[in-house]
């Protein structure tokens, strides 16, 4: 509701991009991202940077020493560093009657998360989609329920893959900085492409106001009806975590701080402490909440989304030209006769995706 009121004002008002000057900024707080789960626990470590610093200048933490500790005294120390501050710890099967915590040693400091017992996340009931009316966005939704009812709070992450193709087929052009004749039977073409994306924020829901612990059609992704994501074939892999209220409140606050500030009815931003604390500098602020939860996953292709696709008007056929435009080397045909040219976006799908076809993709073309 409050968000909508904001939109009404935005329609009458002006929203300009703006970089405040003279901001007092700081850097260097430890950020711990990840949850202890069965199998392999993935933890990403990083540090906060100043607001005006570019991301490529952010330091990478590669020297940390991590392990997961169980309340029975055992430690899971088989940790591998896989680059970009990402650490993988083999934790095996978590025991519901034990508690687990993460331990980090870094730059002479030690950090620890709170001991928590694992939440056994229920299975995902379904991943489906909905579209209210022509022109409306397509929502990919998830539904679940938990009769055991350990917790009524949930978090999801997802990874989506899709196939799409360029509007026109080019016989000749540039691929991987090499000019070549294209071939649909090999990956040497710019006709078929694959795109991928992953969740970029906290997707959270709770059933605490409902009479049953049911999450019905929680929206994960909104896809505009004319998005080429759903033009050919779409696949989504969803991971579901049941979480505690404290984790929910923590993540929701982080999410609000980057989505609901500044508008007319926005709450004043604030920071909540997570469950990771420094053992060596008590009171130091550490960002992150390390939940202990056994994830459940579901992945599926959604070929029926083509029904929801509203193809934008095709304009490329009108832009075919016999003269080569500046910088365009893509040709629809290169024969002995006159060649035909079209704008790159009509012929080259790699500007919006890649040729990296996922290994599990069912289509035969490359």
């Amino acid at each position: 509701m409050k968000k909508n009121v904001l939109y009404l004002f935005v329609a009458l008002s002006c929203l300009d991009t703006f970089e405040p000057e003279g901001l007092q900024t700081m850097e260097g707080l430890l950020v711990v991202d990840g949850a202890i789960t069965s199998g392999v626990t993935t933890i990403e470590l990083s540090r906060t940077i100043q607001m005006e610093t570019e991301w490529y200048n952010s330091p990478v933490i590669s020297e940390a020493d991590l392990y997961v500790e169980c309340s029975d005294g055992s430690r899971f120390t088989r940790t591998t560093y896989s680059g970009d501050g990402i650490y993988e710890i083999e934790t095996g099967e978590l025991q519901p009657d034990k508690q687990y915590r993460l331990h980090i040693s870094l730059d002479g400091e030690a950090y620890e998360s709170e001991y928590l017992s694992p939440l056994l996340t229920p299975e995902i009931d379904s991943v489906s989609w909905q579209k209210r009316e022509p022109g409306a966005p397509v929502y990919i939704t998830v539904s679940t329920h938990d009769e055991a009812g350990q917790s009524s709070y949930y978090r999801w992450t997802y990874r989506e893959n899709w196939e799409f193709k360029s509007e026109l087929f080019a016989e000749y052009g540039e691929l991987n900085q090499i000019e070549m004749y294209f071939d649909l039977l090999t990956p040497n073409n710019t006709y078929y492409c694959w795109g991928s994306n992953h969740s970029r924020s906290f997707v959270l829901a709770t059933s605490d106001k409902l009479s049953e612990n049911i999450i019905s059609h929680k929206r994960l992704v909104a896809i505009p009806p004319g998005d080429e994501k759903i033009s050919e074939l779409y696949h989504i892999a969803v991971s579901q975590y049941q979480i505690r209220k404290a984790a929910y409140d923590y993540f929701l606050n982080l999410q609000k701080n980057i989505s609901q500030t500044g508008s007319i009815f926005s709450p004043i931003p604030s920071e909540i402490r997570g469950n990771v604390h420094s053992l060596t500098s008590p009171g130091a602020w550490v960002i992150g909440y390390v939940e202990v939860s056994v994830a459940s996953t579901k992945e599926q292709f959604m070929p029926e989304l083509i029904l929801a696709y509203e193809e934008p008007e095709k304009t490329c056929s009108k832009q075919i030209s016999v003269s080569r435009l500046d910088g365009i080397i893509y040709m629809m045909s290169k024969g002995s006769q006159s060649a035909l040219y079209a704008p790159r976006r009509c012929l080259d799908c790699t500007s919006r995706g890649s040729k990296n076809k996922p290994s599990f993709w069912p289509a035969g073309h490359l």
Binding site: P20, E27, R47, R200, K209, I214, I264
Partner: protein
């Protein structure tokens, strides 16, 4: 009636003319009547006065030689509806009624008045159709009391009612004083009632009021008595009549930090959307701030938005805005005036820490049916008023509606709000009845409803309803009582069916009933007492969350209702110690009782309430928790001269109802909470002092006021607080203390072609989470600026009248940018970019600056016209400056971006057309 007023004005100028040749010779055949008048004026010393509309296309046939002009005129106009009246050399031609121009019989027979050296214009020239004798003449001598009584020692009481000459409406805030007796004066109350102590003998009583013609009355006082006075409106077309306001009152009263504005003063202030907006005018006064445009609430001298008591005809208004703050809740056609108390709050008011905004509607016209219609681009209004029983009962009804759906239609296609609609309407009805001179009864009703819907699944609505009945009784000339009872209601609901499984209806409501008795006792020479008692019964629905539709899995949840009784007794004395020194001493004692049955939690004393420190849950019955305490209201005034005074005062206030909101402004989804076993009342104290000086014959008022204020148990919220449907809200709030100080400079010009006010304020407002039990206090427990801490603030509101009908108004507003909280660091998590916040309110948005202009065309004063129309055209934010409302970062698709939001970042033109009939 106005015609007569004009004639009288002219009479005053001409009545000294020498009687001269009166005979005329004329021969006219079917000639325009004007020709005859010209002929008479040429041949005699007579002057003829008439309304040109009356003689339009009237022809006369006259044949006479050397005849009396009066006779000739009468003959010529025979058979028309026009009558001729002669007074000296002046001949008045008027419709229907012959004016009586002789002096009232018995006037010269009164022994005491024979020495009158002024020219008497008889009362019944004005009032020939009225039976009541009201003092409406400036030069006549009015006898007060009985001449046969022994001459009174010292001062005697004169009281009465001041009413509007044309509508019979009582006039509030009219100053009465005797110029020679420095500093004797009073002002009329909300019922137009006054009571003044005057020495016996001959006195000249001056009467001045906003927008009214200055008047005076010659009194011959024998003993205490009654004098009702009718005041004329200032009439633009006569030059010698001046406009004045309560300019003397400002220097003279003991009140500090009080602003009174009549609707007339507000009408010419440029508005954002075509309508006189009381809330925006309040914001143009010194010491009043808001966090930004289109924000519903206002902050007075460092107070929070819930610390203002907004009264509309005695009823409390919890949500004073319409349509997200675009409009005020009050229909300008029915409003009479508003008073804002920023510092000296009369002891009869209580319950809020910072200010009282008292808005009253007019009484209906007791003499004739009138009405007005206003057409605008966004709203339309209609009001009707008139007598029900002549001179006894009148009504005033007003209605307003909007057709703002087009705003939503302006939204971009992809916003998905094309199906949205929004609107509001409100209705007012006031009835007043006069039983006799001692008893008056007033009934007021107000109802409003706002709704908005952004799409088919989500809607929002709120309602205000107020009803009150008021009986005013004059026990004796010195003692009056007002007895009021009423009921107020506010509720809102939000409905969301976007996901059928989670579809809900959330509602919140406040019901309150009140009764009060207020007395005013003019106890002799030096003391005027106000005293009374009041009771206010609250019944809140703190929230109910119910399933909506058959598919909804929402579990019905109803919070237990909160009930409480707030009672108060008060006494105030205005003590005129000496003619130069006055004191206002007030004491209010309030008692707040929490009523059961209600369950509540007990917590460990040593730490802040939280679910982990909960020790017990109990059920309270009856009056299970009380808070009580005295509130002091003291102020003193020393007048050096009649245009220079100094004042100082101290005030303390208590507040038992709190708004729950962690947004910076008043939002339409804010709920309110009563003090209870775990929530203490807020306390506030303010010390203020000021110097007031009038210049240029009281036409320019200046003042400097300074204040220092402290507040305790001001509410703030814990991190991640859940404010809705929280049965243990005490675990999500924090007590905060506040301090504010400031200096307000103001210049106001009330008279002449240029009028308006300019003010400059320097003020600071800071808050602190000082409670040692708070684990991570905001800004480490240091003082930090409040959201509306805008140190420099300059405001100018002016109107320049080029002619009596055409004027231009300007509104100018400059303020330091408000503090906002911006992130200090950023990081990546969960696949996206996030930010880290540290200290609160450490960054300021760019300064605010805005100019609005409007052009107003007043109605023609041609009195025979059936309707009078006025027209105004204006532009809000002429310079189109994109004043930042806020500066913030949000992440879209996982990417952070800084934004600046300007609410009205472009010039907004408006037009409105108003018809009075």
């Amino acid at each position: 009636m106005k015609t007569k007023a004009l004639i009288v004005g002219v009479c005053l100028l001409l009545s000294l003319c020498v009687r001269a040749q009166q005979k005329v010779t004329v021969a006219l055949q079917k000639a325009p009547a004007e020709y005859l008048f010209i002929a008479i004026e040429q041949q005699t010393a007579c002057r003829i006065y008439c309304n040109p509309a009356d003689i339009d296309s009237l022809t006369v046939t006259v044949q006479c030689t050397d005849e009396e002009a009066t006779k000739v005129l009468r003959q010529a106009l025979q058979g028309t509806s026009l009558n001729v009246s002669a007074f000296g050399n002046a001949l008045f031609i008027a419709k229907e009624k012959e004016l009586t121009t002789s002096l009232p019989s018995g006037y010269y027979h009164r022994e005491d008045a024979t020495e009158s050296d002024t020219i008497e214009i008889p009362d019944n020239l004005l009032m020939s159709s009225r039976q009541d004798r009201k003092a409406s003449s400036e030069n006549k001598i009015y006898e007060i009391g009985n001449a046969s009584d022994p001459p009174a020692e010292g001062k005697v009481t004169v009281s009465g009612v001041i009413t509007h000459f044309r509508t019979g409406e009582p006039m509030t805030g009219i100053a009465l004083f005797v110029r020679e007796l420095a500093l004797i004066g009073t002002t009329t109350d909300a019922f137009g009632f006054y009571s003044i102590q005057l020495p016996s003998g001959r006195q000249e009583l001056h009467i001045q009021g906003i927008g009214m013609k200055d008047a005076k009355r010659q009194l011959q006082i024998y003993s205490g008595g009654k004098l009702d006075i009718e005041l004329e409106e200032q009439v633009y077309s006569l030059k010698e009549i001046t406009i004045s306001s309560e300019r003397i009152a400002r220097v003279r009263t003991t009140t500090i930090g009080m602003e009174r504005l009549a609707i007339k003063d507000m009408k010419n202030v440029p508005a954002a959307f075509e309508e006189t907006d009381i809330m925006k005018i309040v914001l143009s006064l010194p010491g009043v701030k808001s966090v930004g445009e289109a924000s519903g609430g206002f902050n007075v001298r460092g107070g929070a938005t819930d610390q203002n008591l907004i009264l509309f005809n005695d009823g409390t208004v919890y949500n004073p805005t319409r349509l997200f703050g675009f409009f005020a809740a009050f229909n300008p056609d029915v409003v009479k005036d508003m008073e804002l108390y920023k510092s000296s709050i009369p002891s009869k008011y209580g319950g809020r820490l910072s200010s009282v905004l008292d808005i009253n509607t007019r009484e209906g016209n007791k003499k004739e049916f009138t009405g007005s219609v206003s057409l605008g681009v966004l709203t339309s209004r209609l009001s009707l008023e008139g007598p029900i029983l002549s001179d006894k009962t009148s009504f005033l009804a007003g209605g307003r509606t909007t057709y703002s759906d087009w705003i939503l239609k302006q939204l971009p296609e992809k916003s998905g709000y094309k199906e949205g609609n929004a609107g509001f309407y409100d209705m007012n009805l006031s009835l007043s009845h006069r039983f006799d001179e001692q008893n008056n009864l007033y009934l007021n009703g107000y109802f409003s409803r706002d709704r908005f819907k952004f799409n088919a699944w989500e809607q929002y609505a709120y309602r205000n309803a107020n009803g009150s009945v008021k009986w005013r009784h004059i026990f004796t000339q010195k003692l009056t009582g007002v007895f009021t009872a009423g009921y107020d209601h506010y509720d809102f609901h939000t409905q969301n069916a976007d996901n059928p499984a989670e579809a809900y209806l959330f509602s919140f409501g406040i019901d309150q009933g009140f009764g009060k008795a207020d007395f005013n006792w003019y106890a002799g020479d030096q003391h005027t007492f106000d005293f009374g008692l009041s009771g206010l019964y609250y019944d809140l629905n703190p929230g109910s969350y119910l399933p909506e539709g058959s598919q909804s899995l929402v579990e019905a949840d109803r919070m237990q209702r909160e009930k409480a009784l707030e009672t108060a007794i008060y006494v105030g004395d205005r003590w005129d110690i000496a003619s130069r020194l006055s004191l206002n001493i007030g004491l209010r004692y309030s008692l707040f009782g929490v009523l059961g049955p209600r369950t509540y939690h007990l917590y460990e004393e040593a730490s802040l309430p939280s679910l982990s420190t909960l020790t017990a849950t109990e059920t309270g019955h009856g009056l299970f928790e009380t808070y009580q305490g005295p509130e002091y209201r003291l102020s003193a005034r020393y007048a050096f001269t009649d245009d220079l005074s100094a004042k100082a005062g101290i005030n303390s206030m208590r507040q038992y109802i709190h708004k729950l909101s962690n947004t910076t402004i008043m939002s339409p989804t804010d709920t309110w909470k009563l003090s209870d076993a775990n929530l203490r009342p807020q306390n506030g104290m303010q010390i203020a002092a000021g110097v007031y000086k009038n210049f240029a014959g009281h036409t320019i008022e200046t003042s400097v006021e300074a204040y220092y204020k402290t507040m305790t148990d001001y509410l703030d919220y814990r991190k991640g607080a859940e404010l809705l449907m929280n049965p243990h809200i005490e675990t999500d709030i924090l007590p905060v203390r506040g301090r504010a100080c400031g200096v307000e400079l103001m210049v106001r010009k009330t008279q002449g072609k240029l009028s308006g006010w300019a003010s400059y304020t320097y003020s600071r407002t800071q808050l602190q989470q000082s409670d040692p039990r708070i684990p991570d206090p905001v800004n480490d427990g240091r003082w930090y600026p409040a959201d509306f801490d805008k140190p420099h603030d300059f405001k100018l509101t002016g109107n320049y009248k080029f002619t009596h009908r055409f004027s231009v108004s300007m509104n100018c507003d400059y303020g330091t940018g408000r503090p906002v909280t911006l992130p200090v660091s950023k990081y990546r998590m969960a696949g996206g970019e996030f930010v880290y916040y540290s200290d609160r309110n450490q960054y300021r948005i760019p300064d605010f600056f805005r100019i609005d202009l409007s052009m107003n065309i007043e109605p023609s004063h041609h009195l025979t016209l059936l309707t009078h129309s006025s027209f105004s055209f204006g532009v809000y934010n002429v310079t189109g400056r994109k004043n930042a409302y806020s500066v913030y970062y949000i992440a879209e698709e996982g990417k952070l971006q800084g934004y600046r939001l300007a609410i009205f970042g472009m010039p907004i033109p408006y037009v409105s057309y108003n018809i009075k009939f």
